[in-house]
């Protein structure tokens, strides 16, 4: 098996046309909801500007705000840990768990723990981790990865979920009713919640001013897990920090509207100190983020608040599915973040994009996503990951386009080939021709027409003068 490539994986996805249409329509509907929600707020564009500036300010003072956060969190009775990378993140968490002697735990949605492959790590240690966000739980049962950072199971149909639940929690076979399936999951997971003594969560926002964190969910799964548990471990990337509580008002107005078109998530939970008798830990993770911070071109991607608006609007994402991106964070923002972690493995992702620019327009923190993808393309070819054939053809193209004579000669050859030897172009090796006709070749280029016309006009004028 070769390394996964977006163009091939998406070809497989699109092969199921009905499912592709459903995926596209469903996400488009989410995008429309976002449009409507944002249109209800006259100051929407101002909020985006504010959010972007607050994030820019925070990133430019990140060390300061992180230490202020740590100091305040400590004062609140929260233990703060620092992890340079995914491995250290996992080790720290395992260390905490080991001390408690707890062997089964619940986890609410956290893209960071996905990024660090925490579940696999803990399971290898013999621990039992239950993902409690419904979508995440479904894909955990199916041993898959999320295909979307907000709607993790959006690649599945209710029939798939029904089959999975029938297999794992003995729901009625072929009962595909989402309400029935959700209720079954509720009952099953409630028993787990009630027994579980340890909860792992992500963090949506960490507030330097208070040393507290905010977690947003619709299902209430983070709260159901944390408030019953003796130990709460929250994991956050260094970029989750914001300076003040007042800034939360801006981000919470933007987040859910951008994500799903809701005015706010059902729960916006503010954890400032552990419950009496509870242990609370926060693990602050770098894992490549400081490298991004140092990169002028891609720094802005650290502003991301993981709303996935760029996923929902991206025509390529909608029509190719999250798994075609062969990485934990798919979609446009993922195509910026993933090459930072492994440029070789993800060299295809910045090209899985038409540079349409819609992502940058929906981004609530105004990340110039499509421009960053363009810059990644340059970086990838500069570092030699563009592929030999492409590099060679680009060199040939550059030569042709910089020499007007060669350009005209090649143009003529191309048109004549198309006209008189079409089989050279019209064959299955030409990816244009597989599903599209070639344009009809005109006899003359515009330039040829233009010169001829000028000549004949010149003649006409002279004939007039002569007569």
């Amino acid at each position: 098996m070769g390394k996964p490539v977006h163009s091939i994986l998406s070809k497989n996805f699109i092969a199921d046309n009905d499912r592709t249409d459903w995926h596209d329509e469903t996400l488009w509907m989410v995008r429309k909801k976002r449009d409507y929600a944002s249109s209800q707020i006259p100051e929407w564009e101002t909020l985006r500007q504010w959010a972007s500036q607050i994030k820019a300010h925070t990133l430019s003072n990140l060390d300061h705000y992180l230490t202020v956060f740590e100091k305040n969190a400590n004062a609140n009775g929260i233990q703060v840990h620092w992890a340079a990378n995914a491995a250290e993140h996992n080790e720290i968490i395992y260390g905490i768990i080991k001390q408690t002697g707890i062997s089964s735990m619940v986890k609410s949605k956290s893209m960071l723990t996905e990024e660090c492959h925490l579940n696999e790590y803990l399971q290898d240690k013999g621990l039992q981790v239950t993902d409690t966000d419904l979508g995440e739980w479904i894909i955990q049962l199916r041993k898959e990865h999320p295909s979307h950072i907000v709607l993790p199971a959006i690649h599945l149909k209710k029939k798939d979920v029904s089959d999975t639940f029938h297999q794992h929690i003995q729901t009625e076979k072929n009962n595909n009713d989402p309400k029935y399936l959700t209720t079954a999951a509720r009952h099953h997971l409630r028993n787990i919640f009630i027994k579980s003594k340890l909860a792992i969560t992500g963090v949506n926002f960490a507030i330097a001013e208070t040393g507290g964190i905010v977690i947003c969910t619709n299902e209430g799964n983070a709260d159901m897990g944390v408030h019953g548990a003796a130990v709460h471990i929250a994991c956050m990337g260094i970029e989750k920090i914001i300076p003040e509580t007042l800034h939360l008002s801006i981000f919470l107005r933007l987040l859910a509207r951008s994500a799903t078109g809701q005015a706010i998530t059902t729960y916006s939970s503010h954890f400032t100190s552990p419950r009496k008798g509870q242990q609370m830990h926060i693990v602050i993770v770098d894992n490549g983020r400081t490298r991004l911070l140092g990169n002028n071109n891609f720094r802005n991607s650290l502003k991301c608040i993981r709303c996935a608006a760029c996923f929902n609007t991206c025509p390529v994402y909608r029509k190719t599915g999250g798994h075609s991106y062969h990485s934990i964070v798919a979609g446009p923002i993922g195509s910026i973040l993933n090459p930072n972690t492994d440029i070789k493995a993800n060299a295809d992702l910045p090209f899985a994009c038409t540079l349409c620019g819609s992502c940058s327009n929906v981004c609530p923190v105004k990340i110039d996503i499509h421009n960053q993808l363009w810059i990644w393309r340059q970086q990838i070819s500069k570092e030699g990951y563009a592929g030999k054939t492409k590099s060679l053809s680009m060199k040939v193209m550059a030569y042709i386009l910089s020499h007007p004579n060669v350009y005209r000669f090649s143009g003529n050859v191309f048109r004549m080939t198309l006209k008189y030897f079409p089989f050279i172009v019209k064959n299955k090796l030409n990816p244009w021709y597989r599903q599209r006709e070639m344009p009809e070749a005109p006899k003359k280029s515009f330039r040829q027409w233009y010169i001829q016309k000028q000549k004949s006009e010149f003649k006409k004028q002279h004939i007039k003068k002569d007569s």
Partner: protein, 247 residues
């Protein structure tokens, strides 16, 4: 008014009619039009493929052809945007800057600079309008569905003046058609799927033509339409604005 034409390479070679229509239209609107003969391409195919570094000579050639021009007009939003965003020169940056501030996509040149009192075109067909992304989001030729802003469209403003035309806007008014430069070959499956989905809305609404300001997107849709033996044809906005008997 003196206008210098920039005709993108693939229009020069494959769609000369679009260039002819552009030239004639500008002349009708009272412009004196010239066409520098040594022009080739803006270099966008290189840059968007990650090889901007190879486009230096191409950039220099562009500057050679257009540094003396006043207004530069181009019948492609995408190529215009590329020049505006990326044209640069180690030795002649001021000339590059002048070009970048003087280059216009055709429809914005007509609405913003020429501002003709009326157009004399007539085109008695049902015409679907394809909003191409680079012109829209890059050059801001029209308002964007993602942004809360007053609604406007420079190309539609012009098309609305064409006699007999029955304009149709697709439901997803500015969803990408899937051309995307070399994307259309490297990501063939996605590109064609996107194109087919765009076409479906036009076909089910029985348009005769799909028009737009970017030949590249139209070429992509035309390829799919022809392969599927559709009755729907593609036509560039210049060809519509230049049509009719009273020109």
């Amino acid at each position: 008014m003196e206008v210098t034409l920039f005709i993108p390479c693939y229009i020069d070679q494959l769609y000369p009619n679009v260039a002819v229509a552009t030239l004639e239209l500008l002349q009708k609107l009272g412009c004196s039009v010239s066409y520098p003969l040594q022009q080739t391409c803006c270099g966008q195919p290189l840059a968007n493929s990650g090889f901007y570094s190879l486009s230096n000579k191409c950039n220099e050639n562009f500057i050679n052809n257009f540094s003396d021009a006043g207004y530069i007009v181009c019948p492609s939003g995408s190529c215009t945007l590329h020049v505006k965003e990326h044209l640069q020169s180690k030795t002649r940056q001021s000339k590059a800057e002048k070009i970048k501030s003087h280059i216009y996509e055709l429809s914005e040149f007509i609405t913003d600079v020429l501002k003709p009192k009326n157009l004399t075109a007539s085109f008695p067909y049902k015409v679907g309008f394809l909003t191409s992304c680079h012109g829209q989001r890059g050059l801001h030729l029209s308002s964007m569905s993602e942004i809360n802003e007053p609604s406007f469209s420079k190309p539609l403003q012009l098309l609305n003046e064409v006699a007999g035309i029955d304009l149709f806007m697709p439901q997803r008014v500015d969803d990408c058609c899937g051309f995307g430069g070399t994307f259309c070959v490297y990501e063939e499956a996605a590109s064609v799927k996107m194109g087919k989905d765009r076409i479906r809305d036009f076909e089910t609404n029985n348009v005769d033509y799909i028009t737009g300001y970017d030949v590249s997107c139209l070429m992509h849709l035309e390829g799919i339409l022809k392969r599927n033996k559709s009755r729907v044809k593609t036509i560039h906005i210049a060809e519509i604005l230049n049509s009719g008997t009273n020109g």
